[in-house]
Symmetry: D2
Subunit: 95 residues, 4 copies
């Protein structure tokens, strides 16, 4: 993502609040895919085309902006996420 | 909104989580309008077309789904918002 | 909202992107109220306390930031929403 | 995430719309961290504590729900994101 942005001179736009709003935009597109699906058949419907490909694209857009935001903030998302999952495991012990 | 939905037999889709996701979708479209604008000129840019009309449309979409969600939940949004603003005024006294 | 902000010298913070992120924050709190409720009983659960009051508060927070954003953008939300609903009625004729 | 959920019998809650709303909730918490920061100093402020740790936690929460959603939908997020980035590189050639 860093190289992709640099090759297009897009870094100038990538302050945290702007990237965060872009992330919100992609989460909105993901929501639009699922909003009117019945809750109990949404997972099955998403296993068939064309929803499957569309969902993969929107999930990816969210991920890519999330990674970009972590990069802009100089945060190692892998390390942070492992720490968060470990903390969650302590907070909510397995049954 | 209630009449609009009823005339189209859309109430069947209007469970709270679905309407909430539709609201999220519209907030995402609103975010997309502003995401790459410079923070300090966004308000001025939004006073000119075509952004002005687009912003009005997206703000409206958010409002309409918010009103629909209040209706689905049988909540009087006017009363609730007045109460919230009064509570906020007590919590944060004027300087 | 305008008077409320002015009395606290908060207008300085109210550029469109900041208010929009505040709106996103409130939509997030609304989502947290409903996320794990079963889809087909969410409306009924929201008719009982304590969820009823909480939902009213979060819906209000979203509304208040939406109104503030419209004010910052100098958009008459009432007029815009009526226009949007009229346009939607033309786009999707009643069955 | 899959093992984490299974050990707590939480899979029953993990239909796509519910996980998506949980993701929205975490995006909202992320937005709350940044909403009132000046746009041009947000990145610097996020390099200092306590914001740095808080931002890492909220980014992680978004990532973890995104991964969970991909798992619920049986989508390989790594493959999908690589495909999306490749498609974006074709759509927006480097300058």
């Amino acid at each position: 993502m860093r190289q992709f942005a640099a090759e297009r001179d897009w870094q100038v736009f990538h302050d945290p609040k702007s990237v965060l709003l872009a992330l919100v935009g992609e989460v909105g597109e993901l929501a639009e895919l699922f909003q009117w699906l019945p809750a109990d058949s949404a997972a099955d419907l998403a296993r068939s085309e064309p929803l499957r490909t569309r969902a993969g694209e929107e999930l990816s857009d969210v991920l890519l902006y999330l990674i970009l935001l972590a990069d802009v903030l100089d945060i190692d998302l892998r390390v942070a996420a492992h720490a968060k999952l470990t903390a969650a495991a302590r907070k909510y012990p397995a049954t």
